[in-house]
């Protein structure tokens, strides 16, 4: 069995984001990491590796610096590494197309991914890639097991959790998993460098990168929060709740 894991390199979630001239200043980002939900997917893949002898192929799409995320994946045990090298930005259609083509090339049987990336916070990649590969998608997964040629996953629903089964190939999008990504040890780190990275351009995969009708015109800071407001007396609580809903949009 071969498990493809889609991983994305993102700014560390505690990093300060500096914006200049209408876009994020990448030079100011002090630390890049694998997107946290992708880490849960990678850990699940490594469990399939140890439980079922599956081969794990880690796939990333991004600029040159993204190869570090593949090295990190190799350090914890990923067997094969594919880097779809792309320096620009594009709409979801092309990005998903390139990833789907890379998955096809890897000949993976199932695909694991995080539910959403920590930078875009969108959550479109897993279901979009599934659709392009003609596979079903199961989202908000915390666990996946291989059982007699099928896959059994635990996913969240609005009323709790449920266990579902899917025959054959499928895409699973991970929410917080049961297990955190294992820590690499020194041996893994030193061996990681020896694993070759297959580097492909979108053109190599037969995909042309277009914006698909979506153009990010600028990125800015969120509007300054209004100054803190103080209210006297318990009765003001209902006014505050209205403000939390309408002004702050947090409930």
């Amino acid at each position: 069995m071969k498990v493809a894991v889609l991983i994305k390199q993102v700014p560390d979630t505690t990093a300060r984001i500096s914006i200049a001239g209408g876009s994020v200043d990448e030079g100011s980002i002090s630390k890049w990491t694998i997107s946290p939900y992708d880490e849960y997917a990678l850990e699940a893949a490594l469990k399939l590796q140890s439980e079922s002898g599956a081969k794990v192929v880690a796939i990333t799409l991004g600029p040159q610096r993204s190869s570090k995320s593949l090295i990190d994946a190799a350090a914890v045990g990923a067997d094969e590494l594919i880097h779809v090298l792309y320096e620009g930005s594009s709409g979801s259609l092309s990005l998903q197309g390139a990833l789907a083509a890379a998955v096809r090339k890897s000949e993976a049987d199932i695909v694991l991914a995080g539910k959403q990336a920590a930078d875009t916070n969108s959550g479109s990649t897993a279901p979009g890639v599934a659709q392009m590969l003609g596979l079903p998608c199961v989202g908000l997964v915390s666990e996946v097991k291989a059982v007699d040629g099928n896959f059994v996953a635990t996913r969240s629903t609005s009323s709790g959790m449920e266990r579902v089964s899917v025959n054959g190939p499928c895409v699973f999008a991970f929410d917080k998993g049961d297990e955190e990504l294992r820590r690499p040890n020194v041996r893994g780190i030193m061996m990681a460098k020896k694993k070759p990275i297959e580097s492909l351009s979108p053109a190599d995969l037969g995909v042309s990168m277009e914006d698909g009708g979506v153009n990010v015109e600028s990125v800015g800071y969120p509007p300054e929060k209004p100054a803190g407001q103080t209210f006297q007396g318990a009765a003001s609580a209902s006014e505050v709740v209205t403000k939390l809903r309408e002004e702050a949009n947090v409930i």
Partner: protein, 305 residues
């Protein structure tokens, strides 16, 4: 420009985000078609002003969420721009529909204007993207970011039957064993401090937490004195948290506690002492006895649509 809204099933009838989506449709198009998978609430939907027609999409497959199957059933009925709500179902389904139709998807927009121009948060809310969407894209809109359309319409309701087969089988439902979120994971946290007076008063915070899907936290003082689990402690030697909303009840705001929560996006503080340091960082400060304010807060939360 034509707009199709794809709603989602909701136990109590029409999904509460539908009037917001209709309002958004009216900003960018003439009239909209509403597709309701499973059909529940179609009549109610037809009464929203601005709805051109409602399609009840019936099918056995809508009893289980399966985005690839649902999008196969829905895609053929879609015309023009597609608007959906950014819910767990909406995110997954919209992406599946978009990919299936060869379109791009833009998720979680908080404003929409003709053009089509949208804004959406990124980097966990640390940045805002301004995006122009041309052609027939699929857009999901954050719930409660846009006001609702008025009622008073009377659209046609038609029925379409779908024979798609599910590709996901549910083996068993596992009810969440009442596990409350940990403070480090929650998007909303309600915390208590010495001002609560007694450990038993944490139950009152817990019931507010239940209404909000929030985690319950505590200051170090009460963790030490009342023997609360250390996992609840927010502060210098507890956890540093960055929720969208932090509600501090009966917490004065000593520097060690602030260190743990001051990066929260919004802070609401309830304290009887107007000089309490927590008011220096709160976005919304209520100077009142928490025993009086909290029940009012809770009622107001429960009666939000």
């Amino acid at each position: 420009m034509s707009v199709t809204i794809v709603s989602e099933p909701h136990e109590e009838g029409m999904h509460p985000t539908l009037p917001q989506l209709v309002k958004a449709a009216s900003v960018i198009g003439e009239s909209c078609t509403v597709i309701i998978p499973g059909g529940n609430g179609a009549d109610e939907a037809s009464k929203i002003q601005g709805v051109g027609k409602v399609i009840k999409l019936n099918g056995a497959c809508f009893s289980v969420f399966d985005s690839s199957t649902w999008s196969a059933a829905i895609s053929g009925l879609v015309d023009g721009t597609v608007l959906m709500a950014t819910t767990p179902v909406g995110r997954e389904l919209s992406a599946s529909i978009a990919a299936g139709l060869g379109r791009s998807v833009v998720q979680d927009v908080t404003s929409i204007a003709p053009g089509i121009k949208v804004e959406r948060p990124a980097y966990s809310g640390k940045a805002v993207e301004s995006i122009s969407v041309s052609g027939d894209a699929v857009i999901t809109i954050r719930p409660n970011a846009i006001e609702s359309a008025e009622s008073g319409g009377s659209a046609d309701v038609s029925t379409v039957d779908s024979g798609e087969d599910l590709r996901i089988a549910v083996l068993e439902a596992i009810a969440k064993a009442g596990e409350r979120l940990d403070v480090s994971e929650a998007d909303i946290i309600i915390s208590g401090g010495r001002g609560l007076g007694d450990r038993s008063n944490f139950e009152k915070l817990e019931s507010v937490a239940d209404s909000l899907g929030a985690a319950v936290g505590a200051s170090r003082a009460v963790v030490d004195e009342w023997g609360l689990p250390h996992s609840m402690q927010v502060g210098q030697t507890g956890k540093t948290v960055t929720p969208s909303l932090y509600i501090a009840v009966g917490i004065s705001g000593a520097i060690q506690h602030l260190a743990g929560m001051r990066s929260s996006r919004y802070i609401l503080a309830i304290n009887k002492d107007p000089e309490a340091p927590i008011f220096g960082v709160a976005d919304y400060g209520i100077v009142a006895q928490w025993e009086d304010a909290l029940p009012i807060l809770h009622e107001a939360i429960k009666s939000l649509p």
